[in-house]
Amino acid sequence: MIQTDIIIIGAGPVGLFTVFEAGLLKLRCHLIDALPQAGGQCAEIYPKKPIYDIPAYPEILAGDLVDNLLKQIEPFNPGFTLGEPAVDIKETDDNQFIVTTKQGTQHQAPVVAIAGGLGVFVPRKPPIPELKKFEDKGVAYIIKDPEKYRDQRVVISGGGDSALDWAIYLADGIASEVTLVHRSESFRAHPDSVQKVIDQSTLGNIKLITNAEVKQLHGEKNLKGVEVCQKDGFGSLIETDHWLPLFGLTPKLGPIANWGLDIEKNAIKVNNALDYATNREGIYAIGDVNTYPGKLKLILCGFHEATVMVQSAFKRIYPDKKNVLKYTTVNGVKGFE
């Protein structure tokens, strides 16, 4: 069991900055995120996009903002449980919370801060007949263990980084046959990856089919083949053991919706006049995941919410201790050993 002062659910910019503000109050934090890396949307969806409304930064790339935040919180040495969505919360008799991830990792703390943004990023499903029938029987939306595809025939669909990166990886001595199907001739993925796929296709290691999409699945119990239709209407059947539709991720509020919190329009209602507390004492919600009259979904507003929230968290954890607001310019940043 991981023990800490504040469990932060969501390692996006607001969750990360919470570690800093909590650290100034000598509170330790542990972050949980479903994505395998910190940074939330900034890292997953738009790392190379500029942000213009971070105070004192006329322009900063979302990825750089995350890197800077990670550097800023380094002295406070936060814990991370990454690649695991938080699915369950239980309250103990002594007012502690136990947050459990889908993989079973348990965390205990007197305070939980939900900084979950738009929710958990989950793969999008293509609208194809009989898709459900073949899930885990040849169709998968996430590659958990690449070894599963050793000496197997694999068809991958998509034109983004995930689709191309996996096509390159699996074609490098793992799968016996890799086919990449994409609806267009241009790719959204990183130009380096696109060039690699083209090179591997020339060498015959990846079979590249553009201007086409998988329209139908074949097989009885397990997937046996996919029907690929070209834009010009020409269709062909490709025999395969696996089809991996990798079309990117979309956020879902997920299990948090069932944690007994007041929810309004897919967001958690909080007390904005005081401390961003939810209706459950000890659980706060900050950043894009919360809602209140006048709410603005901006990173800078989330930073403010985090700062105010940790003051209230301190009072809950140390009801008898006095806390005086200290300025970092005067006192510096004293991290944890």
């Binding site: 969806i45 499903k125 956020p251």
Partner: protein
């Protein structure tokens, strides 16, 4: 600033007459959200999520997509020849009287299957 009128057909087929200002630097996704039509606009308007996909129902309306929009529509679902991303359509006077229909929303996997 002037106000234009748009006809937005929601996913149940109901038509909504919506007024939108031209001088507010708004796009069609934002207009839909402002009148509480069921458009998520998940990525905030960066042409990265396709949750604001619409079909342009007005005949002969120019459909030029920008590069980022085209790249995303190459990967999105339910894409038709008249598909556009609402977030990439700026509200201008030329749009007065335009009719659009909201495209179906993506299905995602459950956390349980994750």
């Amino acid at each position: 600033m002037e106000t234009i009128r748009l006809n937005i057909i929601d996913r149940t087929g109901t038509e909504h007459q919506v007024e939108a200002p031209t001088g507010m630097n708004m796009n069609l996704m934002e207009v839909c959200k402002s009148v509480e039509l069921p458009v998520e606009g998940t990525c905030g308007g960066m042409a990265l999520c396709a949750s604001c996909q619409v079909y342009i129902e007005t005949k002969n309306f120019p459909l030029s997509r920008n590069d980022a929009e085209q790249a995303l529509l190459d990967e999105a679902w339910y894409v038709e020849d008249n598909s556009r991303l609402g977030c990439q359509i700026q509200i201008t006077a030329e749009l007065d009287g335009l009719t659009v229909r909201l495209a179906p929303v993506d299905e995602a996997i459950d956390i349980d299957e994750w």
